[in-house]
Amino acid sequence: MKREIRNRRFICVILLLCGMALAFLLYPMISLAVAAVTTYLRAWGVLPGIGVVALRTLLLLVLTVALVLPLSFGIFRLLRRRARWEPTVRHSIAGVSRVPAVLMGFIGYLIIRNHANLRGRIFPMAVLLAVMFIPSCLFHMEQAIDSLPEEYRMAGEALGGSVNKVLLFVLIPVAKPELLRTGLELIEDILCEATALLVLMGAIDEGQVLSTELFRLAYLGRADAAVLAFLLMAALILLRFFTARRFRREKEDSLCRYNWW
């Protein structure tokens, strides 16, 4: 049986490597396709400037979501398996995840625009955005799993399952509706916040057709831009606060449901 499991793990690793190789092979093709489409858009005069920005933003968002979800799930499994989900890690992740992306965007802006000069390079920017969203993902995954009563975990472990297997075969199937909702909320979060962030940073706007590089203008000392950036951040923090309250209430409801059952 052990040999069978080892073989399966080997196949999984091979599949993962093949997937990564395929992604790297396909990425230049996708980039070329996007470049071709943007050239046509420019040539035909369809939404000049904005159309190109929108297309590049879309590609960046799809790549970011495609990177965030598997990366977060991998880290989540690792933390659970190694039993390192200790209070320090838990509080750090919860703290970082509550910071609106637009605040973290300042750091992103400095890295993308000023230091690493990643402006216009979609793949490195997607990786950077993915890293920024990982704490939020981990926090939500942990919340979804913890919303299940302890009995499920105990029943799984009483059958001799490892922490990892209990998570995969017992907890995740039971928490599927909650995880699905969390996943959709996360994608929505990533899409909304990353779009706002990218526009504010002007990172995808090579031709500078959108005059909304708020961070850059604030950074250069424009008072109106600084005030606007401050108001935007305050609004997003308030929005995050109300979302967190709603999430907490829904979690309490779901706990009641499970307890009743």
Binding site: K2, E151, M154, G156, A158, L159, G160, V170
Partner: protein, 245 residues
């Protein structure tokens, strides 16, 4: 094959409190040992210590606990839990069909072949005498079952792994009368396959099925021995008041 469980000088500390003190008891191979006592006397903790579940939740365990002479602390937790099944008071069903619930333990042990799992589910239900009751419901959603049926499936889930020792924490508290009677019969027939340690709140149940009974109170075993001796010649006043109730 049933094993002998020997517990000597067992002490358990949980959150700085001594929840089990100097516990010593033996469950002979192929026999039923009942742990009797009121709520909070330490019956459930005792069971969770035997399959090393208590350690995971911060309990500090000391003393000798052996299965056929081998210390449970020298065994890998996964291996121990395959040998020692645990059935909880509240039936907890996983997501999926009835059949998937019965074979969840095998799946966690790495067996994935569908026909192997289906055969194991059928064999377990037949061994328990419940095949006729569930043969048409194997593919239906487990959450459609009643609470009593759910408890039967939870017991089947443990038995599917062919444990040598089965620990049961008040398994009939949530079941209806008919199911309780059938489960008692099943436990009686199970003795040839595994040793059973059962925590009970009712002396009647212990009197009907147990070969030996231990009386627990505030984390200690007041007395233990043959069920008939404990019921007809109790040495302790507390035991007398409990069994006469």
């Amino acid at each position: 094959m049933p094993v002998q469980l020997v517990v000597e000088n067992m002490n358990v500390l949980l959150d700085g409190k001594n929840v089990l003190r100097d516990v010593a008891v033996t469950a002979e191979a192929g026999k039923i040992l009942a742990l009797m006592g009121k709520t909070g006397s330490g019956k459930s903790t005792f069971l969770r210590v035997i399959n090393r579940m208590a350690e995971q939740y911060g309990a500090e365990v000391s003393g000798n606990i052996t299965l056929d002479g081998s210390s449970i602390f020298m065994m890998k937790q996964a291996e121990l839990r395959k040998r020692v099944g645990l059935v909880f008071t509240e039936p907890v069903l996983f997501s999926g069909t009835v059949s998937q619930n019965i074979t969840a333990g095998l799946k966690l042990q790495g067996i994935r072949k569908k026909n192997e799992l289906e055969e194991a589910a059928e064999e377990t239900l037949q061994r328990m005498g419940y095949w006729e009751d569930f043969k048409d419901e194997l593919r239906s959603d487990a959450h459609d079952l009643t609470r009593s049926q759910a408890q039967v499936i939870c017991i089947a889930r443990s038995l599917c792994l062919h444990p040598e020792l089965l620990l049961m924490d008040e398994p009939t508290r949530m079941t209806d009368t008919m199911t309780s009677i059938r489960l008692e019969e099943m436990l009686f027939n199970l003795k040839k396959d595994c040793t059973v340690v059962i925590a009970v709140h009712s002396p009647q149940l212990a009197g009907r099925i147990a070969d030996k009974t231990a009386m627990m109170e505030e984390g200690q075993i007041l007395e233990w021995g043959k069920t008939s001796d404990l019921f007809f010649h109790p040495k302790h006043d507390h035991t007398l008041s409990f069994v006469s109730a």
